[in-house]
Every structure is written in C-alpha cells, then in structure tokens.
C-alpha cells in the first residue's frame, strides 16, 4: 500500500532539488538528491508508488525540470497538492509524473497514512474517504494519454493540440 509523504505550503524547487545537486541529467542521481536538505530521509524512505500530499504553490520557483524528475526517480507515483506553481505543473505533466490538484484532502491526512490514487481518473482513497482531483486541462489530458509531451509530439505532432483548439 502506498503511503503519504506530507509537505507544507510553498515547497520550492530549491527544496525539491537544491541548485548544488542538479548539475546533472542522471535520473538516479536526481532521485537520490530529492529533498536532500529539506527532508534528508526522503529518498531512502520513499517506496515505489508512494504519494506526496502538499499544500499550496507546490514547486514554486525555478523552471528546473530536475525537480519533477527527481520526484519521479525517487519512485513517487503521484503528487497531490492544494495548488501547483505553473511551470512545475507543466513540467510534471510533460515528463509523465502524475500531478493532481485537490484542495480537500490536505487537512484530512497525516504523514505515513496509506493512500490509493487512480491517476487516470484522479480518484483518491485514504482513511476510508474518497476525494476527487480537479480535472486537468485538455492539453494536459492529451499529454497524459500519450505518456509524455515528447511522445505526443512524436506520434501526433502539434495537430494533437491545434485540433482541440479549433474544436472550441
């Protein structure tokens, strides 16, 4: 069963992966350095599929994609936050790290609580309660369907997004 790592409001990309640790593109090295200073036990304790539940403005700051890559490489299956900073959210979607915006769950859970997340539907089960995430935008959904932005562009090109804007 996946477990929750709970974080506060305003978790910056500097907290997720400090500037001294992102001088690499190596995913394993990034995973090891995830929250290395803000929560030094994190990368050792996180098990595949575990879930981050955070407060407001998660991922604020730098555009460093090393941040969602580090979380992904640490094995985290989904990040649920009351709100996400724009660039982090877009980066996470682009690399295939599930991110779910959900306001209600935060006050109902504690660190270490068991949780189940269906990343496709955004349904979250924890402590006998069910929560729903906000529906992602249509571009985010198309990227999630393809897996990553690179896959979407490789397989369908910009037409995948141009078509949906023309349909409006």
């Amino acid at each position: 069963m996946a477990r929750i790592f709970k974080f506060a409001d305003g978790i910056s990309t500097d907290a997720i992966i400090p500037g001294r640790y992102n001088v690499t593109t190596d995913r394993a090295a990034l995973g090891k350095a995830c929250f290395v200073e803000a929560r030094p036990d994190f990368s050792g304790a996180a098990k595949p599929g575990d879930v981050i539940v955070a407060g407001r403005n998660f991922g604020c700051g730098s555009s460093r994609e090393h941040a969602p890559l580090a979380i992904q490489a640490a094995g985290i299956g989904a990040v649920i936050a009351r709100s996400f900073a724009r660039i982090f959210y877009r980066n996470a979607i682009n690399i295939g790290l599930p991110v779910i915006q959900c306001d209600q769950i935060y006050d109902s859970v504690s660190d270490g609580d068991p949780i189940e997340v269906d990343v496709r539907s955004g349904r979250i089960l924890t402590g006998g309660r069910s929560f729903g995430g906000a529906t992602p935008g249509q571009v985010a959904l198309a990227i999630m369907e393809a897996g990553t932005l690179i896959e979407l562009i490789k397989t369908r090109g910009w037409a995948a997004i141009e078509d949906m804007s023309a349909a409006r």
């Binding site: 001088v23 593109t25 249509q138």
Partner: protein, 410 residues
C-alpha cells in the same frame, strides 16, 4: 482588441484570440542555459528531428560560469557539442541569459519568446510576451519553432505617483507580492502600468517584469512607449497597446507612500517595511542577478560606496549582470569604487543567487541580496537566511554590516 497579451497573440495568429484560448503559436526565440540546456538537448535528441532554426536557438552559460566542478564542465561540453553539431551560433558566455537576451536585441515589443528559465518573464519590460518553461517544452520548440499556450487572463497593476527617495522598482514589485501573495498571479499575465511605470527607465521595468514570476505570473508586460523607443531604436517598436481590455483584477499601488520593502526569509511574500527589520546583522551582501544587476543598480551602490568602506564582518559581493554592464561600470569607475570600498567583484553571471558556485552561505549565516528568491537553501545551507531588497538598501547594509536604511547614510 484586448490586453497586451491578447493583442500579441491575436497578431501572431492572425485572428482574434482571447484569454482562455488554447493556441499553438510560433515563437521568435527559444533560450536555454547551462543547467536547463542539457535536459533540453537530451529531450530534443529523443525527437530525432532536425533543429527548427539554428539562428533562433539561444544558449547561454551563466548559472555555473566558469565551471566550478567536473560535472558542470561536462554539461558545458555537452552544450558546446550540440551547438557545433546543429550550427547554433548564438552561444554566449557574457552574462545572465535574461540580460543577454535584452542586450543582444532578441527581446522586442510584440515578440513571443520562451526560455528554459523561470525569469524569462523579464523581456515583458519591452512589451514582449515571454514565459519560462521547462526543458522538455523548450526541446519541442527547438524541433518545431512552436509551443502551446493557454492565453492567460491579466492582472493590471497601476503604480500611481512618483517614487520617493530610496524607493525603487524592486520595492513596488515587493509591495505587490506582499499584497497578492506568492501565487497571486499563478497562470496569469501581469500588466505593469501607471504613471510610476511611465516614468521608469527600461532597467527599472526589467526589474518589475523579472519579479512577475515570483508571484506566479506567466508573463509580466509593460506597454512599449517613448522610453522603449529610445532604448531599442524607433524601427524596432511598433504600436502595441491594450485595446478595451477586460482585466481579471486591477491592483493600485501608491508609490509615494511606500518605504523600502524587504522580503524576509523564507518566502518572497513575507515582506516587511524596511524599518521593521533594520539592524539585523549580515554575513553577506550580494548585489547582482537578473533582477538588480544592471548598470543603474551598480551606479546606485557605487554612489553609497564612494569614499566609504564596507563592514569588515560582512562579505560584500558585486556581480554585474553582463559583460556589457561590467565594461560600462569599469568605464564609469564603479568597479574601482566597489573594490576600494572592500567589496569582491566577480565575473558576470548568476553569481551567488542560486547557491551553486561562489558566495555560498554557511549554516546560521544571514545574507541580504538584490536577487529574487529567499527560499531556505537557495544560496547555500538550508539553515541560512536570505533577505531581499533594493540596491540602495543593499549598499547601506553592506556599509553597516546590518540591514540599514539608505535614506540615513550620511
């Protein structure tokens, strides 16, 4: 019709575009630097596509320049190999990417630029829609010359009145962040206007546009005007105005009633009036960054340092934003003034702002910086504290060895 953002996208797409529309738009330039560039290059290579246009790809070495570790040198090598292989000539090692983008004339009114750095909002000062994105987005633009946008709604900020002595563009931005909070403009564009902006130099407007991302903004725009024309040359500036714009929110700030603002640790929106934090002892003062490392900023600091000594218990580090700024500061005598006053002057680039190379803070240390981020761990130890303020406050504080009011420097 519409906000500056809607006008720019409507012109680019040749049809009326409104906030909320999802569009795929051609961009003028795509920029990456020595930290985000390697991820962008790796992602670009997985596309197996030719480079869209080598003349419109900009690569800047600034975050770790010169390389301070073997790992950093390896990333630099990788970027150079990519540039050689694909014929990218716009490779620069002459300052912070955002300053270089402006100095080199890539940022123009009505343009659209994407950069793999959050402070790419900076070019909005010239009326350019510019947004920070991550390396994967930039990689796709490297291959296609396009990216997708959800055209943002706009918060209009009207800065009324003139700036009192000791109060600078930085203080107006921090006051707005104090009011709106660190995610006050998340997903939104910001228009900076009003008489205080009209009276500002381009350097001051660059500070406003730069800090827009630090309260979440996707872009921060100033309407191009006579100052823009004087800065860029007449031919570069076409008419661009908001036309019957519908704003999501209007925020008014009375500049005349402001005192210098200080963002206190550990968050950009933990802003206090200078008087509330005066006297806090400092181990480091950093003057520089894409927010406040331009010639005007250095001139202000040199004015305070002339004939004085910085406090011996404080490291004072000055980093010009670019080689161009450095050369102008040399010619004006500022560099000599800094060094005679006891400050350390370092090569143009990002400097201590992101704690990756020189000027790193130790546990329990306190710094005051003219940069833009004060998260725990940003400039070094997570047990260090960072205060953000304008260059005049930085100068007065360097002299005192503690946070000080520039209006009271004798």
């Amino acid at each position: 019709m519409g906000t500056l953002t809607e006008e720019i996208f409507s012109r680019r797409l040749g049809r009326r575009v409104q906030a909320g529309d999802v569009v795929v738009a051609a961009v003028d330039y795509a920029m990456a630097h020595d930290v985000t560039g390697p991820l962008a290059i790796e992602a670009f290579r997985t596309l197996n596509a030719p480079l869209w246009d080598p003349e419109r790809v900009i690569l800047v070495f600034d975050h770790i320049l010169p390389a301070n570790t073997v790992a950093a040198a390896g990333l630099h090598r990788m970027i150079r190999d990519f540039a050689d292989e694909f014929g990218v000539r716009n490779v620069f090692q002459e300052g912070i990417c955002h300053q270089v983008m402006v100095e080199r004339g890539f940022a123009r009114p009505g343009g659209i630029i994407v950069g793999a750095d959050s402070h790419s909002t900076t070019y909005g000062a010239l009326g350019c829609f510019s947004a920070g994105m991550g390396p994967t987005d930039i990689a796709v633009t490297f291959a296609t010359g396009k990216t997708w946008f959800r055209v943002p709604e706009t918060i209009r900020i009207e800065l009324r009145g003139g700036l009192p002595p000791g109060v600078l563009a930085k203080d107006l931005a921090l006051q707005v962040i104090r009011r709106l909070g660190a995610e006050g403009a998340n997903y939104l564009a910001v228009e900076w206007g009003g008489e205080a902006v009209a009276a500002m130099t381009i350097a001051q407007r660059l500070t406003l546009a730069n800090l827009t991302v630090d309260f979440g903004g996707k872009a921060g725009l100033c309407e191009p005007d006579e100052a823009t024309r004087a800065y860029l040359g007449e031919a570069e500036v076409s008419d661009l105005h908001p036309i019957r714009p519908a704003y999501r929110e209007l925020v008014e700030v009375d500049a005349q009633r402001l005192e210098p603002q200080v963002a206190c640790p550990p968050a950009i929106d933990n802003v206090q009036d200078l008087s509330a934090v005066e006297g806090i002892a400092l181990d480091e003062v950093f003057v520089g960054s894409c927010t406040n490392g331009r010639l005007e900023d250095l001139a202000i600091v040199a004015g305070y340092f002339q004939g004085r000594q910085v406090s011996p218990r404080t490291r004072t580090i000055v980093v010009p934003a670019s080689k161009e700024v450095y050369l102008q500061a040399l010619a004006a005598g500022y560099i000599q003034t800094f060094m005679e006053a006891g400050a350390i002057v370092m090569n143009a680039g990002c400097g201590p702002c992101l704690g990756r190379q020189h000027g790193v803070l130790g546990p329990g240390e306190r710094a005051l910086s003219t940069s833009n981020r004060n998260y725990a761990g940003r400039m070094g130890s997570p047990q260090a504290e960072i205060y953000l303020a304008n260059p005049a406050v930085a100068a007065a504080s360097a002299l005192a060895g503690a946070i000080a009011d520039p209006r009271r420097v004798a």
